[in-house]
Subunit: 218 residues, 2 copies
DNA sequence: TCAATTATAATTGTCGACAATACGGGCTTG
DNA sequence: CAAGCCCGTATTGTCGACAATTATAATTGA
């Protein structure tokens, strides 16, 4: 693999993306272009380019002549995302069942096994913390072979989901049942049963959402 | 309503957006920044800002150090979009059934009646041509009251769908059945039956997709 | 003649400066 | 004292120019 040529704006985007996801730049805080440009030692043009892309993946919001703010997190917005995920990833599972390649099935099963081992020997909590869960969903979405679906979930929503997971830092008690649900989805996909795969994936995500609703009701 | 303050980049975006949607700037063609900037009489900075937003709604694709191209249309990509729409608008219909307001129901029913009248007295073809169909879907999505869903469908995918409808210019023979399907969806939403609303909306969109698959198989 | 290479031209990425707009404090006025 | 206006300051939007990269044309050598 040839080292890809990266532009300055690319690097700035990556830097700010992780900084925002990990909360180093606080959610809801205003972004000062002059200050950030000075701190990162880049021109405002490059910084603005990067901010534009952050806006595209919903990590910041901009208003004309006012500026950019890091997106603020809320229970309501998180639940909205879960509704969207239920719809999109359900469809992704259906399409994956129809279009997945033999090689991808093997990779998916290996990923599932690796996750199972991790959860069994380590404590369950660290699984979700280290976004092993996202890896699984990511892989299925890729296997749908629907470029637009992949773009929506893996480019637009991916960072935002990571941000919630990172900052809300829930230690889900659902590690074991979630893994079971994962394995059912994989089975349906391996069987080429799109209808069933979609149903199982939607149920899985809906349970996650309900779990969050409960935990945040407190 | 107060006249909104628009920035130059906003106007350029609107101009280019309609130009691309309507094919005035050919699909697949390269965008020359110096030339366009001169023709629109704006600086390259404003133009690049606009191009960035065009990229965000998938009307152009950019590669580093190479430039931006207007997205190229294809049957495959269109079908991909229909899969995404089936998932997202299905969920939108479900949520609309749960969250729609009484006023929105009335508006929706009036819209449906207006469309029915148009189709009955004018010839059917013009209905879809003038994107009355998109209006209907747009309204339902709004009634879901899920901001992210609304953003995805009405900001990100909306222009692209208009572009396909405009440039592929199919004269659908499905005006009458489509209107029936619309009315069923409205009924389910008015009844507050989310499960049924989603099912009907998904079937509606799936039939549209299959119709396209047939017509483009030629 | 064709392939490879170099040189030239054009395009994109980046920068610093200027113009337009929004923010904050003090003042005026009721 | 509160509300509204005015003005200085800071921030964002816009511009033209330069640097880095890519595309194109010319040249050379086999």
């Amino acid at each position: 693999m040839i080292p890809i040529k990266m532009t300055i704006a690319d690097r700035v985007f990556d830097t700010l993306c992780t900084a925002i996801v990990e909360g180093e730049i606080a959610a809801g805080s205003k972004i000062s272009e002059p200050e950030l440009a000075k701190r990162l030692e880049v021109s405002r043009a490059s910084l603005r380019e990067a901010i534009g892309r952050l806006e595209a993946c919903s990590l910041v919001t901009r208003k004309a002549n006012i500026g950019a703010r890091v997106v603020s997190l809320s229970k309501e917005k998180l639940l909205e995302i879960y509704h969207v995920r239920e719809a999109l990833e359900g469809m992704a599972a259906r399409l994956a069942a129809e279009n997945i390649t033999a090689h991808e099935i093997i990779q998916l099963q290996q990923l599932l096994k690796r996750h199972t081992d991790e959860v069994n020997q380590a404590d369950c909590a660290s699984y979700f913390q280290r976004s092993g869960d996202l890896d699984f969903h990511y892989h299925i979405v890729q296997s749908s072979h629907n470029e637009r679906l992949i773009s929506l979930l893996c480019n637009d929503l991916y960072h935002l989901m990571r941000m919630y997971r990172y900052q809300f830092g829930r230690v889900s008690q659902r590690a074991f049942p979630a893994l079971d649900e994962h394995s059912y989805v994989v089975s349906a996909i391996a069987d080429g049963d799109g209808e069933m795969a979609e149903l199982l994936m939607r149920n899985h995500i809906r349970r996650s959402r309900r779990n969050i609703e409960q935990m945040m009701a407190a």
